[in-house]
């Protein structure tokens, strides 16, 4: 059944977006530890490290935002699975009713199929809304990645100004730039999955539910 195939595709693409962010929690933790170590090094550098200390505090704010988004993604993922299971249940029932349409003498199966299609439409709509929320979360992660990259650049500039022990901050800047790049890679992968899911959702609604919706 084409409808079932299209919905399976939508679910697979939604789940691919979550999979892209599967390393987000570990990355946030790595970033947090990096900022703590950098802060300790900044304290040792005394007045020369003042600017870097401020940057590490800002980094921990980014970590807090990433952790919050990671929690939201967990919740969205759970809702996607719940919505998927409910959709599959109604699709299976709809499939059986569709089989009965050919056999029945009358219109009861056709009427039931119409009602059940509306229920499937509602559930596909809910999954589509989750995909939209997922796209917004991806945008927020992208902002964090941009800011992390800017902090890495600033740490690198500050490291060049410090007379003794600047090598430590150079290493911090390189590591942070690497984390920012990992975030960008996740965003690219998830963004692609989210775009695919959005397109699939649009096509699915146009193809199957144009009258019902």
């Amino acid at each position: 059944m084409q409808l079932q195939h299209d919905i399976s595709k939508l679910l697979a693409q939604s789940l691919a977006a979550y999979a892209a962010f599967s390393g987000l929690r570990d990355l946030a933790e790595d970033l947090r530890i990096l900022s703590l170590n950098a802060e300790l090094a900044a304290a040792r550098a005394q007045s020369e490290g003042r600017a870097i200390k401020a940057l590490t505090q800002y980094t921990r704010e980014l970590v807090r935002r990433l952790s919050h988004i990671d929690g939201e993604l967990d919740s969205l993922k759970a809702h996607t699975y719940t919505g998927a299971a409910d959709t599959i249940k109604w699709l299976n029932r709809l499939k059986m009713i569709e089989r009965a349409r050919a056999a029945e003498q009358g219109e009861v199966a056709a009427q039931a199929a119409s009602r059940m299609t509306e229920r499937v439409v509602e559930r596909v709509g809910a999954i589509t809304a989750i995909v939209a929320t997922m796209a917004a979360a991806t945008d927020r992660i992208s902002e964090v990645a941009g800011q992390a990259s800017a902090i890495a650049t600033n740490v690198s500039v500050e490291a060049a100004r410090i007379s003794a022990g600047g090598g430590v901050f150079d290493a911090v800047a390189r590591t942070m730039a690497g984390y920012a790049q990992q975030l960008q890679d996740m965003i690219a992968q998830a963004g692609s999955a989210v775009r695919d899911a959005t397109q699939t959702s649009t096509r699915l609604r146009a193809r199957h539910f144009s009258r019902a919706s």
């Binding site: 059986m96 009713i97 089989r99 009965a100 003498q105």
Partner: protein
């Protein structure tokens, strides 16, 4: 799916549905029954999900589906009522679904919105207009929460898995048993294995032998009528139950 009217008097009739030729080989054949009285009807053991389509097709060729006021499930097995959520999509919204109290929370896994009506252990009555269908206890035959339906006006006992026979497609050419002695070979394994309690069997025999029964209508295989009903009682009484050949 074949439909045969096994009883008719005025507006009162029994329809038997079964022997579905399109059924996949790996799905056990089932009989479904509709009791009709005037413009109301009861569907007895509506069957599994896989036979819903041919059953709906056959049924709607015989009566308007709005007439079905009651759905009765003899017990909890999937071949009895896994189609319930589908029937509830096509039947009137206030259709009553009856099953043993023991299974209401279990069968709700098929359809949580069904609003199942629990049947107490002692049974009861399902009313179709002026007709009273008696709900007869048949616990442990084979399910621990099991009921049969007796129609005193039609003198038919819907006996669910009691009297059931497992026939191949080739042997299943008629709705009624023609040669009882030969037919026992198709009932033996099922009764010895699936019916776990001789005490329950004896209690059931004691109860139903007091009823006037012209047709014993099981959920699988051929129906028994006339003297074959008494022959079945004698045969069933003689069977060792709860037997497993090689445990």
């Amino acid at each position: 799916m074949i439909c045969e009217t096994i009883y008719r008097k005025g507006g009162h009739s029994w329809l038997a549905f079964g022997a579905d030729a399109g059924r996949p080989e790996n799905i056990v054949d089932t009989n479904q029954y509709v009791v009709r009285y005037g413009d109301v009807a009861a569907l007895l053991d509506p069957g599994g999900t896989e036979i819903f389509a041919p059953m709906l097709g056959a049924l709607t060729g015989k009566l308007a589906i709005e007439q079905i006021e009651h759905i009765f499930l003899s017990h909890q097995d999937p071949d009895i009522g896994s189609s319930l959520p589908l029937w509830r999509q096509v039947c009137r919204p206030d259709v009553h679904v009856h099953i043993s109290w023991l299974w209401t929370h279990f069968v709700s896994h098929f359809d949580a919105e069904a609003g199942l009506i629990p049947i107490p252990d002692q049974g009861g009555v399902i009313r179709l207009g002026a007709l009273e269908l008696q709900v007869i206890p048949a616990h442990f035959l084979h399910s621990p929460g099991n009921f049969h339906i007796y129609d005193p006006a039609a003198r038919i006992l819907f006996s669910a898995d009691v009297g059931a026979s497992l026939l191949s497609r080739k042997t299943n050419s008629s709705f009624f048993v023609e040669d009882f002695d030969s037919h026992t070979q198709y009932m033996r394994l099922w009764h010895q294995r699936a019916m776990g309690s001789e005490k329950a069997r004896d209690a059931w025999l004691s109860r139903v032998s007091q009823l006037d029964i012209d047709i014993l209508a099981p959920q699988h295989g051929l129906l028994l009528r006339g003297d074959d009903v008494k022959r079945f009682y004698d045969w069933f009484r003689s069977q060792p139950l709860g037997e497993v050949a090689a445990a």
